[in-house]
């Protein structure tokens, strides 16, 4: 079939690369969510503040988020090498790719959080104010639960984006399926491994998207 011979494929290597990708994904997604969520809430709140000073703070935060989002990921990896080293000790391997992945994805996720919160019905927030809710009660008991489908959709988009980011991290010897595809397919012309790695990534994206869609549907009550 097309002259491909899968008998030579080193399945161990494929297995290790898959695990590496899942590790990078898991860790970077987790930290992106933990960091991006509060930034998104902050963006949402600051934009609505009655204080001009806070709204000025919003423009600054918003500007920083935009800058981080517009830097190409590959440049982010290189530019962050010193910072990455000081955080995780190394700037290569699975561990070394996590900080740039997080810095690349967290601002992206923060924007998606802000958008999801903007979709929450103003009237419901007003009703919560009328019932004597404090600001933190509004965030925890109204904004986040009401925006849950939107937040889950944002998480799905972020994870899928992270899959393609982890593929690029091969450039710093990050490991994972993307690294494998480039190493074998591009440098050594071993097409079989490249195809396998790409197929695995496609399957991964499909699974993540399906799981995300299913969660969103489950929590949508409108």
């Amino acid at each position: 079939m097309l002259g491909l011979d899968f008998s030579q494929v080193d399945w161990n290597e494929i297995g290790t690369a898959t695990l590496d990708t899942l590790r990078m994904l898991g860790a970077s997604a987790l930290f992106s969510f933990i960091i991006g969520l509060p930034i998104g809430v902050l963006l949402y709140m600051a934009a609505r503040s009655t204080s001009g000073f806070v709204r000025f703070g919003y423009s600054i935060l918003s500007f920083i988020v935009n800058i981080l989002r517009s830097v190409p990921f590959i440049i982010l990896i290189v530019a962050m090498i010193p910072i990455t080293k000081s955080i995780v000790g190394v700037s290569y391997g699975v561990l070394g790719t996590i900080p740039p992945l997080v810095v690349g994805a967290a601002p992206f996720f923060a924007r998606l959080v802000e958008t999801a919160l903007n979709e929450v019905d103003k009237g419901v927030i007003e009703a919560a104010h009328a019932m004597g809710s404090s600001t933190s009660q509004i965030v925890w008991r109204v904004l986040l639960p009401e925006a849950r489908p939107g937040l889950l959709a944002g998480m799905t988009i972020t994870i899928v984006t992270l899959v393609s980011y982890t593929a690029m991290s091969g450039q710093v010897g990050g490991g994972g399926l993307g690294d494998l595809a480039i190493k074998y397919g591009y440098y050594r012309y071993e097409t079989e491994i490249m195809i396998l790695a790409v197929v695995l990534m496609i399957v991964l994206v499909q699974l993540l998207q399906m799981a995300g869609d299913r969660l969103v549907r489950h929590f949508t009550r409108k």
């Binding site: 019905d121 009237g123 419901v124 104010h129 809710s133 109204v142 639960p145 009401e146 009550r221």
Partner: protein, 338 residues
């Protein structure tokens, strides 16, 4: 119970300012159902939203239950707001929470125990007649059911005041009546003060004790509903009542009929038990005057029956005057209109 003093609210920045309320004063008693009626844009929503400071007035004071809300800090205001329930035109329920959780919301804010929440919410579900819907989400309910959830949620924290912002405007006439009846029940049961704003005279007539008419950010007329409804003074009030009666043309034609010294059109208003007495027929029998009915209504204001007749008396001038005097003596309200 509620006292608004020199309330002014302006929106927008200097230069392009809208004045929604201008120096408005209003006093609402404990236990009454107070209606505010006005056209769209008159300032009704602004007015009711100032009562719990959802909207902060530009100047003036808002007193509720003896507390000056405008002088409070954030935490104190939150505490005071728990004593003021509010329901909305579009219900504003949490779409992600069940009926039960929506009603429990105000109780969870103040860390009520699980058992107390269960007890209170069950009680409220029974009160509003939604016990079998406790685990449904708002999207599975009809408009009237959603408003019942809104009412139960507003009552959960045992408020002293209930504010209703066009609470029935999104509902059909039958559902409107059932919600109004529920509000009246609650008012009696808990001696709860209710403020409701609306653009429908029918709502005022059904359940309110007193009414204020708001126009261009100020109150142009107020008083007991029977008085304002039967003897409106301001043109805006008359307009609302005319819409409710909806028969201006037929009457104008009738009034254009024969006219002269021997004929006089009058409007007679019966209130309370007099509505059902045969005062008019007895009186004309005695004075020898004849009458033709040009228009008649009999209805209720809240729970007070009233009747309003427009009749044309025919007879000698003296006899007609005598008839009118006798009717007045018997406690009817008579107004010569032609």
């Amino acid at each position: 119970m509620i006292e608004l003093k020199q309330l002014t609210k302006q929106y927008g920045k200097a230069g392009r300012m809208t004045t929604a309320l201008s120096g408005l004063n209003l006093s609402i008693e404990k236990g009454e159902i107070f209606g505010v009626i006005g056209h769209s844009g008159a300032g009704k929503s602004t007015l009711i939203r100032c009562m719990n400071l959802l909207e902060r007035p530009t100047s003036g004071e808002v007193w509720v239950g003896g507390v000056n809300l405008t002088s409070l800090g954030k935490k104190q205001l939150q505490a005071e707001r728990r004593k003021i329930g509010m329901i909305f035109q579009h219900f504003n329920l949490l779409s992600s929470a069940t009926v039960y959780d929506n009603i429990a919301f105000p109780l969870r804010l103040i860390k009520t125990s699980k058992a107390d929440i269960e007890r209170k919410v069950s009680e409220l579900l029974n009160l509003v007649g939604l016990a079998e819907h406790r685990d449904k989400y708002p999207s599975q309910l009809s408009g009237g059911q959603k408003q019942r959830v809104g009412i139960a949620r507003a009552l959960a924290s045992d408020p002293e005041v209930l504010l209703c912002d066009e609470a029935t405007s999104a509902l059909d006439p039958q559902t409107t009546d059932s919600i109004l009846r529920l509000l009246l029940d609650i008012n009696k049961k808990f001696n709860l003060t209710i403020v409701l704003i609306t653009h429908e005279m029918h709502v005022i007539q059904s359940i309110c004790d007193r009414v204020a008419v708001i126009h261009q950010g100020g109150i142009v007329e107020q008083g007991p509903v029977t008085e304002v409804f039967l003897k409106p003074k301001h043109e805006v009030t008359r307009e609302f009542i005319r819409q409710e009666m909806d028969n201006g043309d037929a009457l104008r034609l009738a009034l254009q009929g024969q006219d002269g010294s021997s004929s006089q059109a009058v409007q007679i208003t019966f209130l309370g038990s007099k509505t059902y007495e045969s005062i008019l027929s007895h009186t004309v029998h005695e004075t020898g005057v004849n009458f033709a009915i040009l228009q008649g209504t009999i209805s209720t204001i809240k729970e007070t029956p009233y009747g309003q007749l427009i009749v044309r008396f025919e007879g000698s001038k003296g006899a007609i005057e005598d008839t009118i005097r006798r009717l007045l003596d018997q406690g009817l309200d008579v107004e010569v209109i032609h």
